[in-house]
Subunit: 657 residues, 2 copies
């Protein structure tokens, strides 16, 4: 089985598998760094310019995309943005107030948060369709995480300042992720995990609204379904029929408008205007019937005027700083994941590109400046951005319009909300949340990938029966475990020959594939890493044992396995544990009297095998570019080494072609 | 670009890529479960038997391998095992006493731990070469982790009981890993990480011995190099020249014997007998010169008699239980990793198989029973097993012989150690540790895989400058991050055609590969998961943009990219994020007027694409078994759709062959 015979078998026309020339380590390292952190080559436009002045302008245009689209702004675009802006403002006002209540914060904060952050985003953001605002899930999380240590009723000033500090930390964390180009971390939350997590969070938020709808005063602070049901059903005598009637009526109204808009997409503005309409109707109703004296809770006094500065309110001292830091990071990541997903979805739909890391910087800055101006955590909620898109927005100017509308409300219109019943806010939240429970996506997951469905359900149950944090941890852990398990247990398959060809395909997939006597062709479907090297070595041994048993069972005419061909086409990468494994495999096959042959190794594999001396050990002549050539060579060796066999010259020629 | 034309281009002889028949989910799930947890099919021997009685016997033989080799035991094997057993006993006695001191435990515990655990292992273990004993690294860890909360000098009884409890928890954890078939977890500590971690731990242990060698009384409890150096050099006036002279002399003697044994492997017994010789020489020296009155510390009184029971000493109440639990789990995993690695290495060397999970059960039981009989954490240290192997052991009986030798020592010979200077024990530890600092392995890592080298150095520095726990966390984190990053940034390459063939190879690896006009062939080198789906979509877009730029630069005769062929040969698996990505890619290519073509998708990919309806969308006719056929079909389409092109009939024929 020397090298010379293998070459003769190839008829001297072998296409050798070349070992790539050595590249200086720094080159490779720099290349990998670039691919990891700058895959989309974002600074191409800056670097292209010549001269410091032009480069500064290009850099400014990179960080402030507003400088790119503003000069090209047309009156037609303004008209579209005006309509879109007013539409989303009509959503922003009631939703802002409702979600602030969800976070146990003063309702006017919801309006503040729809004033300053959208302006910042319009300057720095890249998406043309994203509409900025607060989100229910993050508001709930802030409420439950801060509320677990500081009571919003007993200590409202401290609670408020902690909310601002948490928003500041969230913004810093988000901007850092963007600046350090670590945006890919957000990719580690799989879509299945997000569907489950969001569904669970939406369920939990709806459960929380039962307090407002039933008019209960005392309620559990836990969010899980068991505590909530217990709270609800142990106080049945406290339910207020007025709240229930009012809440159900408005909820019905909102659900009907949502249904109509789904059926007829042109009438999207109906469901967009419904929340504000409910607020107005509800206020009028309470005003006329003086229902606030009959047990209906109302918003009450809403401070007039723009955002007061809150820089001095930020707390950077223990013990509360750690709480704010933890809250900020967790809510920041969740808000960021949603904002980036929204930006990407619409960009792909409208066929433009956005730089994920740049978006993160924009969202982070938005939150940092928001924390200085009495706003709490904002991002780009999907529902509001969808309305923006449907309303025909053209640029981020729609956010500016919304911001102006909210400003007018803050300056002049806050007294109008004095009589707005809280029950209406609860109904608005519930109808928005029901849209977040994406059972269709879950059904699709069940059909396509049952493991992803389990991830989804696991996250959902974790949130509903545990808490939002537990659900998030469950979702992330299952997602990462799944990836690690795939690496740890890669697929190995036996390949067989498609008759009358040199093609080798998986025998479990192609019924016509046949095995070749004396040769076992195996294919490894994953990179060979420390995590799977031992498993692979044992599995390959087992394949060989099984094949030996199978052929020996057929009698003496069948020879055992003499050649083991490893198809390395799918082995993307190999580390030192992998090269050790190849070394051990070679030695163990030598002891069994078998020859190892490699087919189609990539250039990185060749490099590693060469530098670890395994290539020398196996012998460069036993490495072929395709499985077909490898098996042909083995076949030639088998036939020429069996003196008693009648060798058909045609068969020999076929083996050499 | 309809389906019919693609088929015509293939000349009607296309080998279609079949969609595999649907398997019931439970079948697939059960299959995957079996492959993940029972890859080596360990119960094959049990299941094969018929009848409950024979199955019980087979199960007993599975859990107690001793029942397999004991009946076949020969006098020749006994002779080999006797020699090997006595050799390793001569190591066990001095090392046991030294390592127990390292853990701040009474020295006699080292002897107890070489009595009971080896007997248990001989009954339940599968390795023929593994020699049981305590290890320096685990002893150090126990000393530092328990010592951080409970002082061994102020509270020796509590400290001792905590050590037993930690050993108990370690044993339970190890046995559970084995019973739950979770052994693959140990694989996640890569070889590079272990080399760095062990080297760092060995360095730290050597630094700790400076206390004994220099004869210092007060010493830092921290293990990092800065604290130790500070302790040493701030007390230079306290150094005792007697200790230094004695220590250096014995260290020199031990290193010389180690060097001799390395040069001449036949003289392995020289380095094996050296520690016991040093102990005897040292005791004699001290006895004759009464050096214990001149400042040389000696072991002193060593209790006579066998292991006292310690079941009642186990502590299961807070606050200390959590400390014992944490120590037990961490030291248990490290000890397990070493024991399994040793077992596997020798099994592979001697060409037999061991079941990793069964070994874990054996090691775990060994520790549980050890904790009941005043032993602390044991495993199969590599150095001792190597001596066992070199001494010619045949079965685990060598452990029984060693155990009997230790028993004789415990019953009769403990007074002999009364005058043994601690300095000799320090020298023994230091010489053993210097063998653990595997700089050759580190140099090999630098040559083969620089990232693995960084993992190794990171773990080393983490241990030496931080603490052992920090080093372990650094090692595991870098290892897992590396795997995740590979998944998150998979390699995509452009393939080109090797002239005069239908073979397509990477253009960056094969200089002769050439691109095909109008067709861009891309290859993805990893499974498509949530972690990399977005990145892949953007990267593929960028490849297309680059190719468009390149071809447009060449003038009007070159057409732009019309077909994008994706070689899916290396895509082992795809989840719902991946199928969404394929869906989005298809739609985005449609908008750009390009056709997507898939080549060589595996059966799992076909199944997922089919159930997510992406297969329908792409069209089954645009999926080919090889890249060659895919490009041929595109080429045919290109030529037949360009009316103005002079089509060479030979070229057309070549495209169709």
């Amino acid at each position: 089985m020397g090298g010379a015979s293998a070459e003769a078998a190839n008829g001297g026309a072998a296409v050798r598998v070349p070992v790539p020339p050595a590249r200086p380590f720094l080159d490779t390292f720099r290349g990998n760094l670039k691919e990891t952190f700058f895959p989309d080559d974002p600074f191409r436009s800056v670097v292209r310019e010549r001269g410091a002045g032009r480069r500064t302008v290009a850099a400014l245009r990179y960080f402030f995309p507003f400088l790119e689209w503003a000069p090209a702004y047309t009156p037609g675009a303004f008209k579209s943005d005006l309509i879109a802006g007013i539409t989303i403002a009509s959503l922003a006002i009631p939703q802002g107030i409702s979600y602030a209540k969800l976070a146990n914060l003063p309702p006017v904060l919801g309006l503040y948060s729809s004033f300053v952050p959208p302006l910042v985003y319009a300057l720095m953001g890249s998406s043309k369709d994203l509409a900025v605002g607060t989100v229910a899930v993050a508001s709930l999380l802030i409420g439950s995480m801060l509320g677990s240590e500081v009571s919003p009723t007993d200590n409202p000033a401290l609670y408020l300042h902690l909310a601002f500090t948490a928003t500041f930390f969230a913004g810093v964390f988000q901007a850092s992720l963007g600046l350090l180009r670590l945006g890919f971390i957000v990719d580690f939350l799989s879509h299945a995990a997000i569907v489950g997590f969001m569904g669970g969070a939406a369920t939990v938020v709806c459960l929380q609204q039962l307090k407002g709808v039933l008019g209960l005063v005392r309620f559990t602070t836990s969010t899980d379904i068991v505590s909530v049901m217990d709270s609800v059903f142990s106080q049945t005598h406290q339910w207020r029929w007025e709240s229930v009637v009012l809440g159900c009526a408005f909820l019905f109204f909102l659900l009907v408008t949502r249904f109509i808009s789904k059926r007829r997409p042109k009438l999207f503005w109906i469901s967009a205007a419904a929340p504000l309409t409910s607020v107005i109707l509800g206020s009028v109703l309470v005003y006329l019937t003086h229902a606030e004296n009959h047990g209906i809770e109302v918003i009450g006094y809403l401070k007039k005027g723009l955002n007061p500065p809150s820089v001095t309110s930020l707390l950077f001292s223990p013990p509360h700083m750690m709480l704010a830091l933890k809250t900020g990071i967790i809510t920041g990541v969740i808000a960021l994941a949603e904002g980036i997903a929204v930006g990407r979805s619409f960009a792909m739909f409208k066929n433009y590109n956005i730089d994920g890391n740049k978006e993160m910087i924009a969202i982070g800055t938005m939150n940092i400046l928001g924390s200085f101006t009495s706003c709490y955590l904002t991002t780009g909620p999907f529902s509001r951005s969808a309305v923006n898109y449907n309303a025909g927005c053209k640029t981020a100017m729609s956010n500016v319009i919304m911001s102006l509308a909210v400003m007018i409300t803050l300056l002049f219109l806050t007294p109008l909300f004095h009589y707005t019943p809280l029950v209406v806010l609860s109904a608005i939240i519930m109808s928005a949340m029901l849209g977040l429970i994406d059972y269709q996506a879950a059904a699709h997951l069940w059909q396509v990938d049952k493991v992803d469905f389990c991830v989804c359900i696991g996250a959902y149950l974790g949130v509903v029966f545990g808490s939002v944090e537990i659900g998030l941890v469950v979702a992330i852990t299952i997602s990462i475990l799944r990836v690690l398990l795939f690496i740890a247990r890669p697929r190995t398959t036996v390949l067989g020959n498609i008759p009358n060809s040199r093609i080798y395909r998986r025998m479990d997939q192609y019924a016509e594939a046949q095995s070749v006597p004396g040769v076992l062709v195996l294919r490894v479907d994953a990179p060979i890493y420390f995590a799977n090297a031992s498993y692979l070595r044992e599995r390959i041994s087992r394949w060989i044992d099984d094949e030996e048993e199978r052929t020996k069972g057929k009698g003496e005419t069948e020879m055992g396995v003499q050649y083991v061909v490893l198809d390395m086409g799918a082995v993307g990468s190999i580390d030192t544990s992998g090269t050790s494994m190849m070394d051990e495999l070679k030695k163990s096959l030598d002891r069994r009297g078998m020859q190892i042959v490699l087919a189609n190794p990539g250039s990185e594999i060749m490099k590693k095998l060469d530098s670890s001396k395994v290539l020398e050990m196996i012998g460069h002549d036993w490495i072929f570019p395709t499985v077909g050539e490898a098996v042909a060579s083995c076949g030639y060796m088998l036939h020429s080494h069996k003196p008693g066999t009648v060798m058909d010259s045609a068969a020999a020629h076929e083996n050499m072609v």
